[in-house]
Subunit: 243 residues, 2 copies
DNA sequence: GTGACTTTGTGCATCGGTTCACAAAGGGAT
DNA sequence: ATCCCTTTGTGAACCGATGCACAAAGTCAC
């Protein structure tokens, strides 16, 4: 299947121009941590803290100081040497960089247990995001009101996406339906998808897919848990080495 | 705070012995992909496929062939050159490596919308995992039956963990309660935690914490989405470079 | 048994990300 | 204005992960 490509989290061809000062190509790892910093900073702003050092912010966000400084340096030079970062200002800069100064219309497809939970989860749709539509294929739930929104039939997908300006879609459908819905969503012009279904989605590489997979996380935990158990009973020097 | 350490996903001191053949230290990146391979293999087994090449399995799992082969080579030499991998056998080997041959008792703490969804989500508790307890602080929901389980008051946390042999805890509490519950869970001897609350948990570094954070995923999508928009209106050569 | 063909397993170059360590840059006291 | 102290921003070494490319190892046909 040469037409489609497997979803990658990174970009195939980011502009690799060696810009002199403000290289706009922010490393993916950094982008993934910016929301963490933002959350910590918001907490500080609420508690009335005006200024913060890289070291303090780093521990609040659960990372190391040097990493935080390097991350922030990718956005620009927003600190004052000898003092630290001004909290309000940094909140604004990170918000702007993440695109949270505009607001994003999100559609949730699949209103089962999980979809319902997401729709109701007020905290996760924080500043910048707004649940604009709920869709489902089951005639039983179509027409219901969940979190103040009317559930629309999946047939209306394309119409709803266009009319309500949806640019991010959350997939909470059963695994079997996910790829088909995904295809339609992509055809409707959406290029950002958050996928909760336990399948590997196949999309053109202009589309960004992020995956949240509960079962995988559990399996990773189980791996480490088992290893700890092995360690205890076997001891580190009793490694079996069954060659 | 020198006593506790921020949760890292990796191990501080994995056995770094240069073992000759079967190095038991499997790279973290590999571990994270094994569940993906396992899922693809299970699908193939169901469809009656007996044997599969690295290239086919790789595309099914959404990775590149060389990576898959290197990943599998960390577990041992389970393929046959010129033929491929026997599906059933590989399923068993990966399951064993991930610790899915035993079953793990999981407790879910916090039975709000999300906790309820997780409890009911039959698919996610796949082979190897079993929801053994539901806990909550709200007297309103304590005593309810959800997914066939009685919701227990959080006061019973330590007792329930011991009595039901819980070794993995899923935190689905409000952010404000998460750290306190986490401390109690850790004190009760649990060393594997899956955290859905939007906070950075502080735990001793013998404890493995994995985080699932919907809001962060959305923000990452927004970042890329904004960048695409900038690209279109600005054009790649109109980079502002506001030095 | 031999040769052609297929596919694994891995050495090696490369790349992105992390961490260290320090020079540069500011603030504040005297 | 000068000196000392604090903290940022970053060059450079390091480390793990990725991907290429190929030799080794097996199957199958005859």
């Amino acid at each position: 299947m040469p037409g489609t490509r497997i979803a990658r989290t990174t970009w195939s061809s980011v502009s690799r121009r060696p810009s002199p000062t403000r290289d706009r190509g922010i490393p993916e790892a950094t982008v993934a941590r910016l929301p963490l910093y933002l959350r910590a900073l918001n907490g500080m702003a609420e508690r009335g803290i005006a200024t913060v050092s890289s070291e303090d912010l780093a521990t609040a966000a659960g990372v190391n100081g040097a990493k935080l400084r390097k991350d922030l340096s990718h956005l620009g030079s927003y600190g004052t040497r000898g003092v630290g970062y001004e909290v309000e200002y940094l909140v604004y800069q990170i918000s702007r960089e993440l695109g949270l100064t505009q607001d994003w219309a999100v559609a949730i497809v699949g209103v089962g247990n999980l979809g319902r939970a997401l729709a109701n989860y007020g905290g996760f749709v924080s500043r910048g995001f707004r649940v604009a539509a709920l869709l489902d294929a089951d005639p039983e739930v179509v027409g219901d009101t969940i979190a103040g929104l009317n559930v629309v039939h999946i047939d209306e997908l394309e119409t709803v996406i266009k009319r309500r300006g949806v640019s991010i879609v959350v997939l909470a459908t059963p695994a079997a339906a996910a790829q088909a819905v995904c295809d339609r969503v992509v055809n409707a012009g959406v290029t950002s998808i958050l996928n909760f279904a336990p399948v590997v989605l196949s999309v053109p590489d202009t589309v960004e897919v992020r995956k949240v997979d509960l079962s995988i996380e559990l399996q990773i935990l189980a791996f480490h848990e088992q290893r700890k158990a092995d360690r205890e009973s076997g001891g580190p020097l009793m490694a079996v080495d069954s060659q």
